[in-house]
Symmetry: C2
Subunit: 333 residues, 2 copies
Amino acid sequence: MKKFLNHPEKVVDEMLEGLLLAHSDLLRSVISDNRALVRVDAPVHNKVAISTGGGSGHLPLFLGYVGKGMLDGVAVGDIFASPSSKQMLDVTRAIHGGKGVLYIYGNYGGDVINFDTAAELADLEDIRVETVVATDDVASMPKGYEQQRRGVAGLFYLYKLAAAKAETGADLDEVKRIAEKANARVRTMGVALSPCILPAVGHPTFQVAEGEMEVGMGIHGEPGIQRGSLQTADEVAATIVSAILQDMPIEKGEKVSVLINGLGATPLEELYIIYKAVYSLLTDQGIHINCRYIGEFATSLEMAGLSVSILHLDDELCRLMEAPFVTPFRIQH
Amino acid sequence: MKKFLNHPEKVVDEMLEGLLLAHSDLLRSVISDNRALVRVDAPVHNKVAISTGGGSGHLPLFLGYVGKGMLDGVAVGDIFASPSSKQMLDVTRAIHGGKGVLYIYGNYGGDVINFDTAAELADLEDIRVETVVATDDVASMPKGYEQQRRGVAGLFYLYKLAAAKAETGADLDEVKRIAEKANARVRTMGVALSPCILPAVGHPTFQVAEGEMEVGMGIHGEPGIQRGSLQTADEVAATIVSAILQDMPIEKGEKVSVLINGLGATPLEELYIIYKAVYSLLTDQGIHINCRYIGEFATSLEMAGLSVSILHLDDELCRLMEAPFVTPFRIQH
């Protein structure tokens, strides 16, 4: 294992300490272990507050999306492990501005249990909480079982759109409606070329042989749908776009947003080569790319690989996509 | 070699095509091979124009810094290879807004020869060109030979500061003075954990053994000053900060900007752990970190490693650091 760290078991604590030192103008911690973080100006009164959370090791997910025009708070766990319901409740209390709180997070067992518990506890304190669970990974379950799918990089769109709606002063039901609409209209599929190493484990938890790739692998190394020979960039793009459009047909003339997400070790140069291929595949079918994001949005430590997310836009979502936001890792102007 | 690509020899062309498709609102190509790119609104009249260039494979360097509040144009070569003087001249013509052009680039033989030729050719067309070559890599040559050092991630500061000055309407001599001042006051040192693979080569051009790291390695794999056992994050930070401060002493009470740059495969989590250590080392000596940048600014494909740059600020540089900019990869608000 070759990593820049001091103690494998202190990676998350030291990372959070560095992050808070770096971004004290944007983020603050509400509990002593720094696992519950909120916007520096939280709570924002008369705005629906939005919270997320999940395991560490996915930066800029989850911490990177807290800020004006984005999320109000986040609870983070150890590497690839859920935060506790106590940490989520601490965030909930700190961000509630009088209009309720929306939880948006990815569909993983531990997170679901802990967020549900936190919501029940918040209810006892008269904080109304609603929940939308992201299920954008088409490779994780077949059609018909959408609600059992994992949530991956498409979470970015749920955050972005719900947050833009919340900034307009909309109530909790309306903000929740937008998050559900985004989830219903986004699909993601990933391809992994190499594993990552958990600092506390010290060796890869799985292997992808030289010359092979795993299609549909999850961001914690969950098995994909197909392991086979490494394909060209054009073939990888075609595999992903075809799987997504088969699952979620998009008519000629419709608009989409595309997110090309690097999983950690894949050079930005390769993400642009994939974008070129995705662009051709979509425009050949008469589908317009209205806005695109290319970079690292949801990583898996130093895993090599990428995912492509496609969000099926309509006029309402287009308008919300344009809203600005300011977070530690990404600013939209 | 496991990469997302179609033809190893077409990596740069396909990357540029994808990049122009993605960012046509910010960038445009001025020649048919897309190797000369400029701000979409170039030339900006009555502003000193700033151009850079260098080999591909370092995204977001060099292309990522073209945009309002940053650079006017860029010439890019093949992976790790200089662009031609013709490409540089094409950029120069396209960005010249009547107040001259400043070239800012890293100190590498091929780039120096080609930029110098382009400057001579521009002079024949009555375009005044001045040049500042970045030499921030302390590990590349000992003290006393500063002008022979390589330019690495510290280039970001030369761009940022000179561009902010140019936006104020300053003349070419003033903008050049700021770039030279930034270069004189910035130092960088890097550590590599693993090599990168050039697509056209197909295998690593060097190796760093398991359990080892190379201190001072360049962003093209140039040998460093010391190969040894992998150190902890705190030890790596101490090695770098001590080398930089020995080369460029900074008094107690002075202000700096710090840039923690990932070389490609290093998770953002680890960069924050390094930032925490650098923060402690500097504040323990009474040095204030006025602004910080953490992420990928100058990569080497999928090399694992990082560099730390320290810019010694004064009041003039502090003010220029605050100016906003909008580029394809990074926005400052």
